[in-house]
């Protein structure tokens, strides 16, 4: 065994001297979550991550958002914080709490930034500022770099920034159709940061600070994405009384107007008029989304009038169920009207599913039309593309194959961590 082989096998005995021996540094502390990634992205990628992390030695990072569960941001943070720590970059995660009034206001802000105008009242602004002031004192924000996620905790910078710290605002929302008044309210806070990060260039508004582009990512080993046996999938379908026989067309997303669940039902009615299929709309709410129940009731009412449509409300933590439902799908839809990034698309692509999705937000970065999935821009378009896929198993297979490769290269946590390490390094060195 030469040095190269030995270095990749930590339990191997020392090798004899060889004229060709070249010590290849093995990935280091790979006994945690990152270890799983070796089989997917290879040890070379992990070595590169470790090399990048070394440059941040001695620096501490704090992540801040407003929910521990529900939604893509919390999901990403759960793993990213672990991975950064495994790489030797001490990282903590703080959750800024709020009450119903605060989250009502932040939901309004969220919708307005997506383009659904609901003007902020003076009272709303007061609620936002006061709650931020109350919560600011409860958070441990003593890192060298504080990464604030989304608009909810954006005002913390004015209350907690210490000299020498770097503050970065990470926006997961598409701001291309933002309501100007709402953005005017937020902009002074955002302008005080050292840098901002957006998921796609189309989302970026004019800002006086450096802006970086970092798409979000998924964890292929989480309960939501890891491999499953067909029997496990079947058992979960049974548990929800869902027939094994499909073909299933599904949209798994929060019950939110911008995900257009009503539009999905409309598209499915057109599909069902021409092909035999079943539709499943499944999802839950997030603890910071008070509108979810209202939308769900509306969707249920509409579904009752349609053939072969099932609506499932999934409680938080239904990751295995989501995994199974996606795997049981013949076509996965994501017919959003607006999106942040729509990681549900990457989840489906990772499982080699055929995807039909709207060309909004970060979806076109994931669905390369006719290469990794099919894009649509209307209800009729969604119906047409879904029928194409229902009719063509070979097309589903090809798109699924390329889709998985595309996600592996661009939308797994290792790539996002790599981008973050580059941003942190450029700001802290």
């Amino acid at each position: 065994m030469n040095e190269t082989t030995r270095a990749l096998d930590p339990e191997a005995a020392p090798a004899p001297e060889s004229p060709l021996a070249l010590p290849i540094p093995a990935p280091g502390a790979m006994d945690g979550w990152l270890q799983h990634y070796e089989t997917v992205v290879g040890p070379d990628t992990l070595r590169a991550l470790e090399a990048l992390a070394k440059r941040l030695k001695g620096h501490r990072i704090v992540m801040v958002n407003t929910t521990k569960t529900g939604g893509g941001v919390a999901e990403i943070l759960h793993r990213l914080v672990v991975i950064l720590n495994e790489l030797g970059v001490p990282t903590t995660w703080e959750v800024m709490e709020g009450d119903d009034r605060f989250f009502g206001v932040t939901k309004k802000i969220h919708n307005a930034l997506h383009g659904h105008v609901a003007p902020l009242t003076e009272e709303d602004r007061k609620v936002y500022d006061e709650r931020t002031r109350i919560e600011a004192g409860k958070l441990a924000l003593d890192g060298d770099l504080v990464l604030i996620h989304d608009p909810q905790p954006a005002a913390l910078i004015g209350l907690r920034r210490r000299p020498g710290q770097r503050w970065v605002w990470r926006c997961h929302i598409d701001l291309s159709n933002r309501d100007p008044d709402t953005w005017e309210f937020l902009r002074p806070h955002v302008g005080g940061y050292d840098a901002s990060i957006f998921s796609a260039i189309e989302f970026v508004p004019p800002l006086p600070i450096p802006t970086y582009l970092v798409p979000p990512s998924i964890d292929p080993f989480s309960a939501k994405n890891s491999e499953m046996e067909p029997e496990e999938v079947a058992a979960i379908l049974d548990r929800y009384d869902l027939p094994q026989r499909g073909p299933w067309v599904t949209q798994i997303s929060r019950f939110d107007r911008i995900k257009d669940p009503i539009g999905v039902i409309e598209a499915f009615r057109m599909i069902r008029a021409r092909r035999k299929a079943r539709l499943l709309l499944a999802g839950g709410g997030a603890s910071d989304d008070p509108e979810g129940a209202e939308v769900l009731a509306e969707v249920r009412q509409r579904a009752e009038k349609s053939r072969d449509v099932t609506v499932l409300e999934l409680p938080p933590g239904s990751d295995l169920e989501i995994n199974a439902l996606q795997r049981a799908s013949t076509v996965v839809m994501q017919k959003s009207l607006r999106e942040g990034f729509a990681l549900t698309v990457s989840e489906a692509l990772w499982k080699r599913r055929a995807v039909v999705a709207s060309a909004v937000g970060g979806i076109p970065l994931q669905v390369l039309h006719e290469r990794t999935g099919l894009l649509s821009r209307s209800i009729e378009g969604a119906a047409f593309q879904t029928i194409r896929l229902l009719d063509n198993a070979e097309l589903r297979r090809e798109l699924g194959h390329e889709g998985r490769a595309h996600v592996r290269d661009n939308f797994l946590h290792t790539r996002e961590v790599r981008d973050y390490l580059a941003v942190f390094t450029s700001l802290l060195e």
Partner: protein
């Protein structure tokens, strides 16, 4: 380039950020291409390889794809794709080629501009370089290290450093200066093919190994029996290791 100095492998992470211009038609695309820094041209053409390292074949560059889909001009898209498919072309030459193609469009009917939602946003990128604690003192050691460097490092040493420098990170120049002229020629030959990175890295590695067979045979005849046995054991162990653990990326 300092002959005799070891080659230090580094990897890079790319910091991507907006370059400024936004195009909605041929005029604004031309204006953007004429004014953006060369790093942005590099991002939209050559860096495609980093974004799709494991693709079966490389997609066309960003300009070509946008012109094909948003402006629906297949002919111009084809010409832009061809112009942007030379990874180590000097970037001002690339800019001139792209502009010449767009100048020709003026003689034909101008298509409808793209909607704001389908606009082309120019992006640029800069690299954060980090050493990999891996150095080679002769071309054979480069060959040995090659399978263990990540796609980012391969792209950096074969293409990016060749275009932007520094010369000390240009692997092909290092090989030429350190007795690896044949390996350098192999790399240049394969680079011209415009393959996705993973295939390119494997192709170069395979051809390097084959190119080194004669010198290894000569050394084998000069080595002692003990050394030859140790080497044979190493080869078997490496093969057994591969059989034990086939990474998933090999069967995408």
């Amino acid at each position: 380039m300092n002959p005799g100095a070891p080659f230090h492998f580094s990897t890079v992470a790319h910091l991507e950020y907006p370059a400024g211009p936004v195009a909605t038609d041929f005029d604004t695309l031309r204006e953007g291409i004429a004014t953006v820094p060369v790093e942005s041209l590099f991002y939209h053409t050559t860096r495609i390889a980093v974004r799709h390292p494991r693709a079966q074949d490389l997609p066309a560059n960003d300009f070509a794809r946008w012109v094909g889909t948003a402006l629906q001009d297949a002919e111009t898209a084809e010409r832009l794709a061809f112009a942007g498919a030379q990874p180590v072309l000097p970037l001002e030459e690339l800019r001139a080629s792209l502009l010449r193609i767009l100048d020709d469009v003026g003689h034909r009917k101008e298509p409808e501009p793209a909607s704001e939602a389908a606009a082309f946003h120019f992006v640029t990128a800069r690299s954060v370089k980090v050493p990999l604690d891996l150095e080679a003192t002769d071309p054979e050691l480069i060959c040995e290290a090659w399978p263990y460097v990540d796609h980012g490092a391969a792209f950096y040493h074969l293409i990016e450093a060749r275009v932007f420098g520094p010369a000390s990170d240009d692997l092909i120049e290092w090989l030429k200066a350190n007795g690896g002229r044949r390996m350098a020629e192999v790399a240049e030959d394969v680079l011209g093919g415009g393959m996705p990175l993973q295939r390119l890295q494997r192709e170069i590695g395979g051809r390097w190994r084959r190119a080194l067979i004669p010198s290894r045979l000569v050394r084998g005849t000069e080595a002692s029996e003990t050394e030859r046995r140790a080497h044979a054991r190493a080869v078997v162990a490496r093969f057994a290791g591969r059989l034990r653990k086939v990474p998933e990326r090999q069967t995408p």
